[in-house]
Amino acid sequence: MILEWIRFFVAAVLIILGLCSFGAAVLGAYRFGFVLNRMHAAGIGDTAGIFFVIASLAVARGPHMDTLKLVVLVFFLWFTSPVSTHFLGQVEYYTNPLLGRHVKQTDLPEPADSPVQAGTEERKKGDGDGTD
């Protein structure tokens, strides 16, 4: 009987951690002012939140076939969440005309006829204001 209560407290701690992760994600979605920052906050809920909740359910359920289904669900979300975040970042990069207000430097490739590539070395020699 005491082992059952120990299992219950482990499940309780895990699901409280999961709900705190989801709370952090929602808080970040409200507090951050730009969508790329909000994606960072959403990633907490997509990875840590669902991991702790499903771990709590697996502890509570014990070895069972449904537990295996829930573990597969966690791995599916862990693989698909970065893909969604990548596509949403791409959408924001290509559709936001005011991106330069939020993003100072990016590693994405420039278009071929951009004037930035022609003058890159000059600017590196010229300005030393630490923006590189």
Partner: protein, 116 residues
């Protein structure tokens, strides 16, 4: 208090907290200024809904709800990909950043110096 009542209270409370968080994300998706904010909010809302369905599958001891959660995860992923691919053009044009404007305002004489 038996162990079944304890589990029922724990996961019932977790469901109530998740419902409150889902409501907060619905409001966030309504007030999101751009379409990307809304898609991010709907993605988080889907993740919390998957968690709710998984909790219900243990709380009600119904195994098929785990399958429902998996199908919901797949549909949510495909929906986010479709909504994202609607906005990306086939030949995308990079946006203007601040350094482009710096380059435009640079004096024209510097570019001729490299050719000599």
């Amino acid at each position: 208090m038996t162990i079944e009542q304890a589990y029922h209270t724990l996961y019932g409370g977790a469901l109530v907290v998740l419902i409150l968080l889902i409501g907060a994300m619905v409001i966030r998706s309504i007030i999101g200024p751009r379409s990307t904010d809304r898609i991010v909010s709907v993605n988080m809302l889907g993740t919390m809904t998957i968690c709710s369905i998984a909790i219900l599958s243990v709380l009600l001891d119904e195994g098929y709800l785990a399958d429902v959660a998996m199908i919901y995860a797949m549909i949510s992923f495909v929906a986010v990909l479709m909504m994202a691919s609607m906005f990306v053009p086939s030949k995308p044009k990079a946006p203007e950043l601040d350094r482009d404007k710096e380059q435009e305002t640079a004096p024209a004489g510097e570019s001729g110096g490299d050719r000599k």
